[in-house]
């Protein structure tokens, strides 16, 4: 899922102090999740996935960028391994979101399984933006509930109508790159962010004509690893989402 609450919102800290405000924000996130869910369902359908496969991705994978990447690589006739690797590499960030989230929610027993399921860009951003832990917990659960419900409903609707609409005529082929760009935008301000982005573009363009589809995406991850391990000022440890 794309991150609606970006870094400036994170820094505002206690701006959403009240539960009513948190609820309103969560409903807003739910509405846009429904819209993107419809787009995902339609794009998955156009890529040749069945209704159940699209729904399985939204219901189990439940992390938008990975879902769009997987479907996009399969649509480009890329190898399943490349599609799988891209989805997993994009999902790595959720593991790191788990650190602040488990500090806030402090799940126990089976609650850990449900908490993990809901850890994505938006729920993490909403939770860590709250001033106190009780509101943060509330924000995590209400955002997760709204988003999960609407994303899945949207996916079903999109997959159902997907076959009856002309995705090119509606400009839906611009949907995935536009969403990826919107997700990328706030992250370019990270230390080495712009350099990594340009390096990834260069690696991708160099490989795209000579490797199987999907491989350039995986190779681009190497740019991030190199830049992250490269010694330098430790001013920005990258911290959090």
């Amino acid at each position: 899922m794309p991150a609606r609450i970006s870094r400036p919102a994170l820094r505002r800290g206690g701006a959403f102090a009240e539960r009513a405000e948190v609820t309103r924000a969560a409903i807003g996130i739910g509405v846009y999740a429904a819209v993107f869910g419809v787009v995902f369902g339609a794009v998955a359908q156009a890529a040749g996935l069945g209704l159940l496969q699209a729904v399985a991705l939204s219901a189990v994978m439940f992390t938008g960028a990975s879902q769009f990447a997987l479907v996009g690589i399969l649509a480009a006739a890329g190898s399943p391994i490349a599609a799988l690797a891209a989805a997993l590499l994009l999902g790595v960030r959720n593991a790191f979101y788990g650190v602040p989230v488990s500090g806030i929610v402090r799940p126990r027993g089976l609650g850990r399984l449900l908490t993990a399921y809901l850890v994505i860009d938006e729920t993490t951003a909403m939770a860590v933006a709250q001033a106190d832990r009780a509101t943060a917990r509330y924000a995590f659960w209400i955002t997760g509930g709204c988003l999960c419900g609407m994303w899945n409903l949207g996916t079903v609707a999109g997959a159902l109508i997907g076959s009856s609409i002309d995705t090119a005529a509606l400009g839906l082929d611009a949907a995935a790159p536009a969403i990826f760009l919107a997700l990328l935008w706030p992250q370019l301000s990270r230390q080495r962010g712009v350099a990594v982005a340009l390096g990834a573009v260069a690696v991708t363009l160099a490989l795209v004509t000579v490797t199987p589809a999907g491989v350039p995406i995986i190779a681009a991850a190497g740019v991030a690893v190199a830049a992250g391990l490269w010694p330098g000022r430790a001013a920005d440890s990258g911290g959090g989402p």
Partner: protein, 102 residues
């Protein structure tokens, strides 16, 4: 590997990554270099995905200027700090409109 197998393995894998995050002690994932790599991974992957979406079709370079213009308008909206929904709607509407007229 069938499409179903890809869908299931990738889905369970992505869930597993989330579960690792809420289960491992913070000291393991909190190392500065590990965090820096993790925070730069999406930057690289998203840049690569945008590049192939806009600049490639299969194994050759291919530029569809309708899509490119749509995403460029989306970038303009991002620069003007518009919400994600606005960015997205402008991008697909521009692409669709340009495709109608030219």
């Amino acid at each position: 590997m069938s499409t179903w197998a890809t869908v299931i393995v990738a889905s369970l894998g992505c869930y597993g990554l989330k579960l690792i995050g809420v289960s491992l002690p913070e000291s393991l994932l909190g190392h500065p270099r590990v965090q820096r790599v993790a925070s730069l991974l999406p930057v690289a992957m998203l840049s690569a995905l945008i590049t192939t979406d806009l600049g490639a079709a299969g194994h050759r370079y291919s530029l569809d200027w309708h899509t490119l213009a749509g995403v460029a308008v989306g970038a303009l909206a991002l620069w003007r700090r518009r919400s994600l929904l606005v960015v997205f709607l402008l991008a697909i509407a521009t692409t669709a409109l340009l495709r109608q007229v030219a």
